[in-house]
Amino acid sequence: MIEAKNIDFYYGNFQALKNISMKIEPKTVTAFIGPSGCGKSTFLRIFNRMNDLIKDTQMEGECLINGQNIYDKSINIDNLRKDVGMVFQKPNPFPKSIFENVAYGLRVNNMGDKSFIGQRVEESLKDAALWDEVKDKLNKSAYELSGGQQQRLCIARALAVKPSIILMDEPASALDPISTSKIEELIHNLKNQYTIVIVTHNMQQAARVSDNTGFFMLGELIEYSNTKKMFLNPEKETTQNYITGRFG
């Protein structure tokens, strides 16, 4: 369970998020939509403190994951990021073999011995629906895979450390339609085990994969509700305008 309370976020003097509060239930898929530059990616990166890496930024407010404020001083960021996985916009496998890519998180977190790692890699690749395509070339470089396969490899890499939450930042924006539909199918299957938050600029995608949707604009959370309701019967006029394509 993720709970954000009154979050403000600044890049230098520019306020990118304005007083955002939101609750996300476990084992659901939540989509963030909105025009580019609206703050949806910034908000996503609040959940695993990825924004810490950007210089000259500032955050106010609280973000609780399972009741714990992840911005508390006592929090170990590495453990947090292990528990909150992330898949990025562009597939970014490491210059290592397919196997080593998936094993990476296990190794850096000292999880398990050799046989355990082998087993987890296989499970994760199966969960990411990639196993059948790569099982004969696990030692080949990850760069030999197609773009869509690389992205599923990155998902497998995130799954391997058994996070409870997976953040996806426009995971299909760099992919072709067939690869995209595979990723979407995958998200659907993963929902049983993980809490998934996905940022997308593609409203149809949000409608297809998510249970709840948050609509962001100019750093504000305009509307946050059940996806069906949002797309069929939005409360706010701005939402209505965006969904029907009047701006964006």
């Binding site: 170990n76 590495d78 850096v108 977190n109 000292n110």
Partner: protein, 277 residues
């Protein structure tokens, strides 16, 4: 929290290394600066060495180094810039440029003593210039050529393509475009290379050992076929083979400081030119 601990240790070490390297630099400059500043005076800069190089000044070495800097750059600077113009403006992107670039890198990596050998064989012996400012300048010129080529290339590549297109579209020839548009735009950065070369040439010893440098001369050189004293060689002599090493130590500190100051000032001027762009 094992991995956190190893991170802290590693980062501490790297930071320490950083401080250490800066410390080394400052200890060298500080040591030579402290000892040298007590020696440097107007007399030190304008007088000849006296009493077996244990007192007096380093004037002839300063003059010699000045001649060598001017002599080497008169010949290397235009050639280097021309070579850079050829590779950036004419040669395109094919294998020719690749070979030229590899050769330039190779030339840059050849040890300075090898240039000394070559200069001695070709200029001093074969062409019969003898130990002379001419032979030394040519040798030093070859040595700094790669530096000039590389900085000039970077300078020319930094000129936006749109400048060239704008000029060509007005009916200017390629050569006119280079002369009137490209070179003026790249001027500041090309000058940076020239200034860095001055620092480099002033400090090199090995190439001049057998081509020009004299242990001691009672008068200033009067032509390009004369031998000359030079600052770096003078420091070498003072440090290792003077008549009384202990007594000439202060002279050595002063000479070393002058050398460091030349490099320091050239670096400062170069960064000034670089910033202006």
């Amino acid at each position: 929290m094992n991995k956190k601990v190893s991170q802290n240790i590693a980062f501490f070490i790297f930071k320490f290394f950083g401080v250490l390297v800066i410390g080394i630099l400052f200890s060298i400059i500080g040591f030579i600066g402290y000892n040298g500043i007590q020696v440097i005076s107007w007399e030190f800069l304008t007088e000849f060495p006296k009493e077996g190089m244990t007192s007096g000044g380093i004037f002839p070495a300063i003059v010699g180094t000045f001649y060598l800097v001017v002599g080497s750059l008169i010949f290397a600077f235009p050639l280097g810039v021309m070579s850079a113009i050829y590779t950036t403006e004419y040669a395109g992107k094919g294998w020719i440029v690749r070979i030229i670039r590899i050769m330039t890198n190779n030339l840059a990596s050849i040890p300075s003593i090898v240039f000394g050998l070559f200069g001695m064989a070709l200029f001093v012996n074969k062409l019969n210039f003898g130990d002379s400012i001419l032979a030394g300048s040519l040798t030093l010129g070859l040595l700094v050529l790669p530096l000039i080529i590389r900085t000039s290339e970077e300078a020319l590549l930094a000129v936006p393509q749109s400048y060239r297109e704008g000029s060509l579209a007005l009916g200017a020839t390629k050569l006119q475009t280079i002369r009137r548009i490209v070179l003026p735009a790249a001027f500041g950065n090309i000058i940076t290379g020239l200034i860095l070369s001055i620092g480099r040439v002033s400090g090199e010893t090995a190439p001049i050992l057998f081509t020009v440098a004299a242990y001691f001369l009672p008068k200033l050189p009067s032509g390009i076929f004369d031998q000359a004293m030079a600052l770096p060689y003078h420091l070498y002599v003072l440090a290792t083979s003077g008549t009384d090493l202990e007594a000439s130590r202060p002279m050595a500190y002063g000479t070393a400081l002058v050398l460091i100051l030349i490099v320091l000032i050239m670096n400062l001027i170069a960064s000034f030119f670089r910033k202006k762009l």
